[in-house]
């Protein structure tokens, strides 16, 4: 078992027993569910919107070279820079170089999951640049030295008391139970950063090929300040974010908003295609787009799993996932939690070390049902499991066990016999008082669960008795 997998099991056990944590997460997701239910009623046909979004992303991903080049050319025509990074290290190095050249001391960041994926803040801090997260949720988790808990709601796991205490300790503000006051504290604190930072770093929700622009979607406006005030703007994004046309946003923006938070449309949907132009009042002097591959082109080459690149990072699958609701976002130990992360991370970080994430699912399919771009998430979890088994990283005993299971299940008399034997064995364990001891074969299951009474009869026997033989 890999180290990451042991750590996952430990944290998952700890978090699923933490009732306060579960209460906070349940409250948040209940609010989300209500909002999404209301949001969907604003569509004449939600299924048609999902289909349209699938079509758009399918077109972009299956013609990735064409649209990325079209985008690049437009950005260059407008005086911007486009850098292609094979991996996180290259992307970090490029951004650190831009920062060093520009004499950057402070960076304001709006939310970017890719920056988490490539550990950009650490790289910038190493060269002496201060990095300030400006999304409220991100700001809170940064003060706690934690990674984001959720890709859309980074501080979902905290209540107002915890935030108040944190602000009191780290920012010296008076304790308050009033959420608007907590927001005001963060606003006042971050204002000076927006106006003193030399560089703003944003992600991109979409890369629009025909316009040569990136889009960011935010409610708070931190993304807009980060990309308007500082001297340099760097947009950091995965290569898969490209869409063919501006027109596509007429469907993508409202669908992303509804799937992400239940809103009809997010407060600010911003398009940025370059630095300040001649005649414009303000804006950055430099505009850089960093296109990150980091394993995505390998996923593209895998026809079976290519559609995973359609993901628009709305977080709907995470909110729908019963595993997430119980173990929370940090137990996963990776950048992207929930179903999309359990599909993606083993592919990006290595199946050997991270396959356990694809196994930690009941395959209920709730994620697939809610995905606004129709990614068949639970099928991809199964495909990862298959690849993991074929890679031979599983112990021989497990393979043998599965072979035996298949043999047992593929014949009715054998199934009957082993059912009888199992019930008998359990009764013997109980009769000898071995329950819960090391000799109890059911101990791994029963240590956290109550064992139901062992039935005298099998279902088949009961059926025969009550309905007569057929």
């Amino acid at each position: 078992m890999s180290t990451a997998s042991q750590e996952f099991l430990r944290k998952a056990a700890e978090k699923s027993a933490d009732l306060v944590h579960r209460g906070i997460v349940r409250w948040n997701i209940d609010q989300y569910d209500t909002g999404v239910g209301r949001g969907k009623t604003r569509f004449a046909d939600w299924e048609a919107a999902r289909q349209r979004c699938h079509d758009i992303k399918w077109e972009g991903v299956n013609h990735l070279d064409k649209y990325l080049l079209q985008f690049e050319q437009k950005v260059k025509e407008n005086g911007g820079h486009v850098f292609w990074a094979e991996n996180g290290e290259e992307a970090c190095r490029y951004i650190c170089d831009v920062a060093a050249r520009g004499g950057v001391k402070k960076v304001v960041k709006s939310k970017s999951m890719v920056s988490e994926e490539i550990h950009l803040a650490t790289a910038l801090e190493k060269i002496g640049v201060e990095v300030v997260e400006t999304d409220l949720g991100e700001f809170i988790v940064q003060l706690r030295n934690e990674p984001p808990y959720h890709i859309v709601t980074p501080a979902m796991h905290l209540n107002r008391q915890q935030v108040s205490k944190l602000f009191h300790e780290k920012l010296g503000s008076a304790e308050t139970q009033d959420p608007p006051e907590l927001v005001a504290i963060a606003r006042r604190w971050l204002r000076k950063d927006f106006f003193s930072a030399e560089m703003g770093i944003s992600g991109a929700n979409f890369i629009v090929a025909d316009a040569g622009m990136v889009t960011i979607t935010t409610n708070e406006g931190n993304g807009r300040l980060s990309t308007s005030v500082p001297r340099i703007h760097v947009a950091l994004t995965g290569i898969e974010k490209v869409i063919p046309r501006l027109q596509d946003l007429a469907t993508l923006w409202p669908t992303l908003a509804t799937a992400g938070t239940g809103q009809p449309i997010t407060c600010y949907n911003t398009l940025m295609g370059g630095a300040r132009r001649a005649g414009e009042v303000d804006g950055p002097e430099e505009f850089h787009v960093v296109l990150v591959d980091n394993g995505r082109s390998e996923l593209l080459a895998d026809i079976e799993q290519r559609e995973v690149l359609h993901c628009i990072r709305c977080g709907a699958c995470i909110n729908a996932c019963p595993v997430f609701r119980n173990i929370g976002g940090h137990a996963y130990g990776v950048t992207y939690p929930g179903p999309i992360g359990s599909v993606l991370e083993p592919r990006l970080l290595g199946l050997k070390e991270y396959q356990h994430l694809s196994f930690a699912s009941s395959l209920c399919g709730a994620c697939t049902d809610v995905c606004p771009v129709h990614i068949e998430l639970h099928h991809h979890l199964l495909q990862n499991r298959r690849s993991a088994i074929h890679s031979g990283t599983h112990p021989g005993s497990e393979r043998l066990g599965m072979k035996f299971f298949r043999w047992m299940m593929s014949s009715a008399p054998r199934f009957r016999f082993f059912g009888w034997l199992g019930r008998l064995a359990l009764r013997v364990v109980q009769a000898l008082g071995l329950e819960g001891t090391a000799l109890d074969p059911t101990r791994p299951w029963t240590k956290d669960r109550a064992m139901p009474a062992i039935p005298r009869q099998s279902f088949r026997e009961m059926w025969r008795e009550h309905n007569g033989s057929r």
């Binding site: 048609a48 409220l136 501080a155 807009r224 300040l225 009809p264 407060c267 300040r276 009042v281 082109s297």
Partner: protein, 214 residues
């Protein structure tokens, strides 16, 4: 950037080109109408403004618009205001004659401490009650930096839905002429703490649209 500075570019592109030789599976589903058509844009715009907490005032003429803006300014704390330097807003300057310092966009971006900014917009979208702005509307900061953002628009700028808004961006070259375009729907907000909606996170707490019918 020269290719020599970015050798990864060709490597990534080569992998992409090889991969997309084979087209991936496509999910086929319903392709019906996604949103019901907007029949009465003005009515819908006003309704959506109420829902997304935008203060929308419909005015008949320039005098009424001047009065409406003056009324909003009277409700704000003392301090400088910033105005997008455009003939339409110069014409409404009567509204700002309340002793406040006025900074025009021709003098540079707004001061961080501005109490309000007043701008024009590129279009209004009825479907979502949104205001489409670009860097031509007084710059990037003009529509985000102050606690109140006042937009002066005419009914002729109203488009029914997002599809029409995107079509307008193409027709008028809004995305090619400007480095920055933003679709604003309501004022800045956050729900990052316990999913409680709080207005005025980092941008304006109030968004006011003065919509003139003539």
């Amino acid at each position: 950037m020269a290719a020599a500075d970015n050798p990864s570019r060709e490597r990534i592109l080569a992998r992409i080109r090889a991969a997309v030789q084979t087209i991936g599976p496509h999910h086929d589903g319903p392709v019906g109408q996604i949103f019901a058509p907007v029949t009465n844009p003005l009515e819908r715009f006003q309704k959506e403004c109420v829902a997304n907490i935008t203060e929308c005032t419909v005015t008949a003429d320039a005098a009424a618009s001047t009065a409406a803006i003056a009324q909003v300014l009277a409700s704000l704390p003392p301090g400088e205001i910033f105005v997008h330097d455009a003939p339409d807003l110069r014409a409404l300057a009567g509204a700002f004659k309340d002793g406040r310092a006025v900074r025009w966009s021709s003098e540079g971006p707004p001061n961080e401490a501005s109490q309000a900014t007043i701008t024009l917009c590129e279009a209004l979208v009825a479907q979502t009650g949104s205001v489409l702005v670009s860097s031509a509307n007084g710059g990037r900061q003009a529509t985000i930096v102050a606690p109140a953002h006042i937009v002066f628009a005419r009914v002729s700028q109203l488009v029914p839905d997002l599809e029409a808004a995107m079509a307008r961006i193409y027709e008028r070259g809004i995305a090619s002429k400007n480095s920055y375009v933003c679709l604003i729907t309501g004022s800045s907000r956050t729900a990052d703490i316990e999913k409680i909606l709080i207005m005025g996170a980092h941008g304006p707490r109030r968004l006011i649209v003065v919509l003139q019918t003539a």
